[in-house]
Symmetry: C4
C-alpha cells in the first residue's frame, strides 16, 4: 500500500463530502464525540464544586483531546492535496491552512497547550463547536438548516429593519423612563444608558426585576414600552412564518414534492 | 347469558375503539372521572395546609380509586382475547400485559398499594394521565391531536436544529457572561454551568431575576443574548405556523373540505 | 306625534342594528362615553391617593351615571316590542328582561344604588364593559372581530388540546420540581400545588422570581420546563397564523375581494 | 458657476430623491453619521461615570454638531425652491418651514443652543432619529419598510381590536387581583390602578416580580391572567404572519416575482 493510497483513505475519512458511503465516516463520528467531550470538559472544568481537587484530571483530558485534534489538523493539512478544490493551486497546504475554517480549527486547538488568559482562551476553545456544526450540516439537518437559512435570507432587510425599530424603541423607552424615574431611582434610571438596560430587559419581556419604574408616570411609560415590545417581537415571528410558508410554496411550484418528499 | 358474551360486552365497555356507539362508553366516562379524581387527590394530598389532619381520608381515597383501576386492569387482561390485534397470538393476555400501555397502567396502579419512596411513587401515579390522553384521542380532539402531531413531525429536523441552536446560544451566552461577570458575582456567574442557568432563564425570556449582569460588559453581552433569544423563539413559532398552513393546503388539494369539514 | 312613533324613534336610537344611518346613533355615542366615564370612575375611585377626600364626588358621579343607565334600561324594556325578534312572543318585555344581555345590564346598574360588599359589587360594575363591546362590534371592528372569532372557532379543538398539553406540562413540571426542591425550599416547592404555581409562572415565561429552583437537579428540570413552555406557546401562535391565512384564502375563493375589500 | 447652479447641486446633495446616482449623496452620508454621533453623544452625556469631568467636551460636541444641522436646515430652506412639490406655491420657503418634517428638524436643533428643562429638551433632541429613518427609507430598507407597514395597515382594525382585548383583559385581571389581594398586599394591590400595573407586567409576560399574588385565590386568578395573556400575544403574531403571507401572494398574482425579485 503506497503512501498516496494511505493519504487518499485518510482524506476520505476526514473530509465528509469525500466519504463514499452514507452518513459520517467512523473517524468523523469519533471526532464529533471528542468535540462533545472537550466542550463538556471545558464547561464543567470551570465549576469548582465538580472540578475541585481534580484539576489535573480535567487538564490532562483537555490536553489529551487537543492532541488528537492536533493530529487531525496535521492529517487534514497533509491530505488536502486530494481535495479537487485545492488541487489546482501552487501551495495547496498553505492555502488550506489560511482558510477561515482551518484558522478557526487552529485557534480552537492552541489554547489547550498554552496558558493564555483564562476566559479569552475559553472562548477560543468553544470554536470547536463550529466544526461540529459543519459535521451536523451533512446529515438530515442540512435540509433543515437550508430551510431556516433561506427563510432568514429571504427577509434579511425586514429583520434588519426590525432590529432598527427595536433600537429606536429602546432609545425612546429608555429616554422616557430616564425622564420619569431619574429623580426617584438615580441608581437605576439616572442616565440614558442605565435606562436602556431596563428598556432591553423589558422589551424582550425578560423582566429580571432589577430595575422597574416606581412612579406613576414611569409605570404608564413602561406599560406602553412593554406593549410595543410585545408587538415588535411579533414582527420577526410573523416574518419567519411567512417566509417558511413561502419556501414551501416555492418548492412545490418548482416541481419538488415539498420539503418532506 | 354465557361467560363469553359477558366478556364481549365488558371488552366493548373498556376498549374505546370497540364501543359500537358514538363517544365514550359509560365505563370509560366513569374511569376518566376517576383518573381526574386520582390526579387531583395526588396533587392536593401533598399540600399540608389542605391534607393536614385528613391524611387517612386522602390515603383511603387513593387506595379505593386504585382498587377500581386494578379491577379494570384485570378485566382488560381477561377480555383482551376479544381484541383482533391480539387474537392470533399464542399468549394474548401475557402479550397484552407486556405492551408499553399495559406496563404504564400497572406502574400507575402499584404505588397506591406499596409504600415506595415518596416522590418517585408520585411520578409513577401521574402515569394515569397517559390513559386519559388515550381516551382524549378518541373524540373530536383526535383530529386536533393529528394536526399538531403532523405539524411537529413535518418539521422535526427543523425543530431539532432549533434546539441545537438554542444549545449553542446557551453555551456562547453563558461563556460570555462567565467571562464578563465571574469576578463581580462569583456566586452566580463563577462557572460556565452557573452562567448557563442564567442563559436559559434569559433566552426563554423567563427572567426570574435570581441572576443578572451588573457590569457594563455583562449587560451588553446580556442584551445581545436576550435579543438572539427572542429571535430563536420566533423560529419554532414560524415553523409551526408554516406547517399548520401547509397541512391545510394538503388536505384541500387531496379532496378534503379542510379540517373542519 | 303619537306615543308609538316616539317609541319607534327611541328604539332606533337605542338599538344599534335598527339605526337607519351609518355608525352609531347620538344616544349610543353618548352612552358609550358614559360607560367609559363610569369605568374610569370605578377604577380611580379605588386609589386612595386620588379619591382621598373626594369620596362623595366619586359616589355622586357613580350614582348619576348609573341613573342614566337605569333610564336607558327602562327605555330598552319599553321599546323592545319594536324589535322583530321579540315581536312574536306573548310577554316580549319580560322575555327581553330575562336575556343574558339584559340581566348583565341590570347587574351592572344595581351596585351603584345598593351598598353590597366592596369588591364583588366592583366586579359587577365592570359588566358595563360588555355593553361597550356590543357597541364596538357595530363599527368597522365587527369585521375584525369576525376574523379573530372565526380563527379561534376554526381551531377550537386544537386550542383546547393546547390547553390540555399546558395542564399536563404544568402537572409534570410541578411534580418534578416538587420532587427536586421540596427539601431545599419547603415554603415554595413543599407541595405540588405550590410547585404548580411556579410551573405556570415559568411556562408562560412571566418569571416573577418569587420562586425558582436552587438545586442543580431543580435547575436542570426547570430548564426543560422553560424550553417546553416556549414550544407550547409557539403552538397557539402558529394555529392563529394558519387560521388567519386560511380565512383569507377562503374569502378569496368564495369571490370576496379579501377582508379589506 | 451661477448661484442657481450652486443651489441646484446643493439641493441634489440634500434631497435624497433628487440625487441622480444610486444610494445616498456624500452630504447625506455625512449627515447620517453626524446624527448617529449626536444621538450617541446625547445618550452617554447623561451617564456621569463617563461624562463626569468632561461635560464641556460633550457640550461643545453637541453645539458643534447642532451648528452643522442648523447650516443644513438653512440650506434646505434656501434650496427648497428647486423642489417641484413646492415650486408652484407663493412662499415655497415658508411653506416648507411649516411642514411637519421641517418643524421636527427645527425642534431637534434648537435645544442644543438654548438651555430648556433638561429632560424635555432631551426628548426633542431625539427627533433627529426621525431624519435618519427618512434616509433609511430610501435604500433597500424601503421595500422592507413597505412590507411591514402594509402588513400592519392590512390588519389595522384587527390590531386595534387586540389592543382593546388587552385593555379589557388588563381591566378584568386587575379587578380580580384587587379583589383577591387588596387585603394581603395593600401596597401593591390596594387599588385597581395599582393592580392594573401588575396586570400589564404579567400579561406582556415581562414579570418583574415587584408585585405578585401571595394568596391562593390571587394565584389562581393570576394563572388564568397569565395564560390569557399568552393567548392574546399569540393574536398579533398570527395576524402579522397571515398578513405577510398574504402580501407575498398578492405580489405574486399581480405579476411580481415576489418581494425578493
Amino acid at each position: 500500500m503506497s503512501l498516496r493510497s494511505i493519504r487518499l483513505s485518510v482524506y476520505r475519512q476526514l473530509e465528509p463530502t469525500a466519504w463514499p458511503r452514507k452518513g459520517l465516516s467512523p473517524t468523523n463520528m469519533m471526532l464529533a464525540l471528542l468535540i462533545l467531550i472537550a466542550v463538556v470538559n471545558a464547561i464543567i472544568e470551570t465549576e469548582p464544586s465538580i472540578s475541585g481537587g481534580h484539576e489535573s484530571f480535567f487538564d490532562d483530558l483537555e490536553v489529551g483531546v487537543a492532541s488528537i485534534f492536533l493530529i487531525e489538523y496535521i492529517a487534514r493539512v497533509w491530505t488536502v492535496v486530494e481535495n479537487p478544490r485545492f488541487a489546482g493551486y501552487r501551495f495547496p497546504r498553505l492555502r488550506y491552512a489560511l482558510t477561515p475554517i482551518a484558522l478557526i480549527d487552529m485557534a480552537a486547538i492552541l489554547p489547550a497547550f498554552f496558558a493564555f488568559g483564562g476566559a479569552s482562551s475559553l472562548v477560543l476553545r468553544f470554536f470547536r463547536v463550529f466544526r461540529m456544526i459543519r459535521l451536523a450540516k451533512l446529515g438530515r439537518t442540512s435540509r433543515a438548516w437550508l430551510t431556516i437559512r433561506e427563510a432568514f435570507y429571504e427577509k434579511r432587510y425586514e429583520f434588519g429593519l426590525v432590529l432598527g425599530l427595536v433600537a429606536i424603541d429602546v432609545l425612546i423607552s429608555g429616554s422616557l423612563l430616564y425622564w420619569a424615574e431619574a429623580d426617584a431611582q438615580p441608581e437605576k434610571f439616572g442616565s440614558i444608558p442605565r435606562a436602556m438596560w431596563w428598556a432591553i430587559v423589558t422589551l424582550t419581556t425578560v423582566g429580571y426585576g432589577d430595575a422597574y419604574p416606581v412612579t406613576t408616570l414611569g409605570k404608564i411609560a413602561a406599560s406602553f414600552a412593554a406593549i410595543t415590545g410585545v408587538m415588535l417581537i411579533a414582527l420577526p415571528t410573523g416574518l419567519f412564518a411567512a417566509s417558511f410558508t413561502e419556501g414551501i410554496e416555492r418548492h412545490k411550484s418548482s416541481g419538488d414534492e415539498g420539503p418532506d418528499a
